[in-house]
Symmetry: C2
Subunit: 203 residues, 2 copies
């Protein structure tokens, strides 16, 4: 999936391509290999015990710790992930499992837009986001928590810590009607409303 | 350091403020506490054995695994970092040390601009970057490596894996004259030219 670029300025290439991911049951792209162009609810049903490396060929995907899109989640964008550490992102749980995954269909929205709220159920102070924010507090948000969120268009990934670190929560306008009314709806593994950085997911 | 924002749109607040960081020798902002407004070459010389949590009050900073700004490096933006995992970012080395740190002075450039090159010594195919790129390959870059870089203005953080994961390399126009001619100059811990995501550092 090599593309020649003539321009000297690296473009934001938003051309639509069919989602494609290649997974391997050993590190560094070794062992058994399978290609997917749609969601996989349980890699073990495909005869693979676990995924130990992967390449995203096209599109943006979400990987999950457990089957049926449960447990810790992590965004996967185009590129090479030779080991677990490359995609798990957070070392709090030391996840070494990725059992299900799916493409993020609304990641190719031209414009991503969401509102964050200070309190649950879309209450309290609110701000609209349409960019990438490595530190919400640097941008004027009052503390290290977000009470609830509404995704108007596109998809975002929210992180527990500044600089895109820690637990990830993938938020999409196509899921829950884009409404995340309290931190328990952020993800099946979410334990606190702590969110300190947020960015768009695009491909 | 609370700021009231009246606008409903969360602004990119680039107002200059004096860099300030508070470090603690225990997790969750407990134990001995020290405030800094400039670089610290060796926290042990301040009588602190290690840093186990921190708050960036203002500015963008770099933390280092060893004294005198050596070893693994990681960008620290405004916010709360209650544990090691919150700032180390990568779990490849399982660093549990942050011994020196300094503010990134050129992070308040209005416009950050850099050029990445396919090969060492600014050779081969090249692209100019002035935005955030969670996946260089999604933007048209040919592979998972960058041979050399020139920082024209501002500061960037380069990551080993897509989605701002893995080893970090802080690149500044004020260091090395902005020139990073081969991967050994990316950082004192760099072992490969593997770089798959890059973003600006701003505050």
């Amino acid at each position: 999936f090599y593309r020649l670029i003539d321009s000297n300025l690296l473009p934001h290439d938003r051309s639509v391509c069919a989602p494609q991911i290649t997974v391997y049951d050993q590190e560094y792209f070794q062992g058994r290999r399978m290609e997917f162009t749609a969601c996989c609810q349980n890699i073990m049903e495909c005869g693979m015990e676990n995924i130990r490396s992967l390449k995203v060929e096209c599109g943006a995907w979400v990987g999950y710790e457990h089957s049926s899109f449960c447990g810790q989640q992590f965004v996967l964008e185009k590129g090479d992930y030779p080991r677990f550490e490359a995609y798990s992102g957070s070392n709090s749980y030391r996840i070494e499992r990725m059992i299900s995954f799916r493409p993020i269909c609304c990641a190719n929205h031209k414009e991503s837009r969401m509102t964050i709220f200070e309190m649950e159920n879309m209450m309290g102070r609110q701000f609209e986001l349409c960019d990438d924010y490595p530190s919400l507090q640097a941008m004027g948000w009052m503390n290290n928590e977000v009470g609830s969120m509404q995704i108007h268009s596109g998809a975002f990934v929210c992180y527990q810590y500044p600089g895109y670190r820690g637990h990830q929560y993938i938020m999409e306008c196509d899921c829950h009607g884009g409404e995340y009314k309290c931190y328990r709806e952020f993800g099946s593994h979410s334990q606190t409303p702590q969110i300190q950085s947020i960015r768009r997911i695009q491909h």
